[in-house]
């Protein structure tokens, strides 16, 4: 070792500063996000249903993912600028205050609840033709957002269940929509939560003096009761988060439940969240998803189309992306507003 060091010392002296500079740009994070094209994932590889096992499914139904890098290093940021396929911008909104770990937690919470919504919608639709199918679900109000001024910020986790709070006149308020009207007389109230390990805990949350809010966002979810639902399903662990696979998950699960094969041998992909009433919701990163679909040569790509006049409508954004990258959208880019729209489209395919 000594001999090598002595022999290469002049080189080491020259290269030490560029080396340290390179290490700096490899590790220094910047307050941006970068979206890049990702890939498609067959829903069957994530969700399996113990039903219709002899049925032959000729095509595939896949959700589309993109790679979102929050607070990339300077090097990643520079790399992203070399391709038109990538999109980089400053982190805005509530995400600017979250750590990468918190963004990841929200993303997986979104994914988990999205799969539950997909199962509920798919089972309910399949149940119309097959009374053997049973779907039961329950309500759960969970922590979905936290402001920086939230008291006990670190104690309350994303996904913790809101149970109730002790409101004005010692009233127990378990309806999250009634928190505002029942917390008028004081600035601090005791909230009760249940964490992911099933432990109940309480924290006294104080309203922020400027906003007059507690700084916590609660959201109502419907979760599947796995004990009573028939047929049983199993969900594999996935490395991909977010709710944007909802529509395609619903289609794939529905296809596993019904007798006919709705894929008709096609490579089907798409994007869009799924709501409990079967309607489809907007997603982000449309441009990168269109490129991903194009690179993966899909036959059909479903995309939310909810308004002809809204500039940021996903379908209109997708058409702009196609024009920007010289992609012909004819024949494969299919606008949908609901799960039923997607079914109707596939029913008409010869």
């Amino acid at each position: 070792m000594k001999e090598l060091t002595k022999h290469y010392l002049p080189f080491i002296k020259i290269l030490i500063l560029p080396y340290l500079f390179f290490m700096f740009i490899l590790f220094y994070p910047i307050a941006y996000f970068v979206d890049t094209p990702g890939g498609i994932t067959e829903v069957e590889s994530i969700i399996a249903i113990d039903y219709n096992e002899e049925k032959e499914i000729k095509g595939t139904i896949s959700s589309t993912y993109i790679v979102s890098i929050n607070r990339p290093t300077f090097f990643q940021f520079m790399l992203s600028s070399f391709s038109d396929y990538n999109y980089a911008n400053v982190i805005r909104g509530s995400y600017a205050n979250y750590t990468n770990q918190e963004i990841s937690q929200i993303s997986y919470l979104d994914k988990e609840t999205s799969v539950n919504a997909a199962i509920i919608v798919a089972y309910q639709n399949a149940k119309d033709d097959n009374p053997e199918i049973v779907i039961d679900y329950y309500e759960k109000v969970m922590v979905f957002g936290k402001a920086t001024y939230l008291s006990f910020y670190d104690d309350i986790e994303f996904g913790d269940e809101f149970l109730y709070l002790i409101g004005d006149n010692d009233a127990i308020v378990d309806d999250y929509t009634q928190i505002g009207p029942n917390t008028q007389n004081s600035s601090s109230y005791e909230f009760f939560f249940k964490n992911s390990e099933g432990e109940t805990y309480s924290r006294i949350l104080t309203k922020d003096s400027e906003t007059n809010l507690f700084g916590i966002t609660l959201k109502l979810y419907y979760l599947v009761d796995k004990d009573t639902t028939y047929p049983k399903y199993t969900e594999q662990n996935s490395n991909i988060g977010g709710p944007s696979g909802g529509l395609l998950q619903t289609l794939a699960i529905y296809n596993m439940l019904v007798e006919e094969d709705i894929t008709k041998g096609l490579k089907i992909a798409g994007t869009g969240t799924i709501n409990y009433d079967g309607s489809v919701g907007y997603i982000g990163g449309v441009e990168q998803k269109i490129i991903t679909a194009y690179l993966n040569k899909v036959d059909v790509f479903f995309i939310p189309f909810l308004s002809e006049t809204y500039t940021y409508d996903n379908y209109l954004e997708a058409l702009n992306a196609c024009e920007k990258h010289g992609i012909d959208p004819t024949g494969w880019l299919v606008p949908v507003a609901s799960f039923q729209d997607a079914l109707d489209y596939l029913a008409e395919v010869e």
């Binding site: 070792m1 090598l4 490899l26 890049t36 994932t41 992203s80 490395n239 991909i240």
Partner: protein, 123 residues
């Protein structure tokens, strides 16, 4: 081929002491790691931004591992020659054998990634 390799190993062990060999390997490992660290982190970051060319990047990583393997053995040889300039052992020929074995290992690991691990992870 194996008999030639065994012969070279025997000559090598006779010519250099364990202390000299371990010192040379340690020095080469240290400097290779210094070079490999930013290189591999940079490649990991390239992969994260251009994930849709993943298979291409895995092949590139295998090639980079070949180069790092070459560098490691080059530095080891240099250290040994600096210790014993008068050595008559054909160190580089011995190291070519070693590099081939290690490179085969890298190729196997790469193929496992491309055909088994990546399809499992990309779910």
């Amino acid at each position: 081929m194996m008999s030639r390799y065994k012969e070279l190993v025997k000559d090598f062990n006779n010519d250099f002491s364990t202390k000299e060999i371990s010192s040379a390997y340690l020095g080469a490992f240290f400097y290779t790691t210094i070079i490999a660290l930013p290189l591999l982190i940079a490649i990991a970051q390239i992969v994260s931004v251009y994930l849709y060319w993943l298979t291409f990047w895995v092949i590139l990583i295998i090639i980079v591992m070949f180069l790092l393997n070459y560098l490691f053995h080059r530095l080891t040889r240099k250290a040994l020659i600096l210790k014993r300039p008068d050595t008559e052992v054909d160190i580089w020929r011995l190291f070519i054998f070693q590099q081939i074995f290690i490179n085969i290992f890298f190729v196997i690991i790469g193929l496992i990634f491309i055909f088994i691990l990546i399809p499992i992870w990309m779910v």
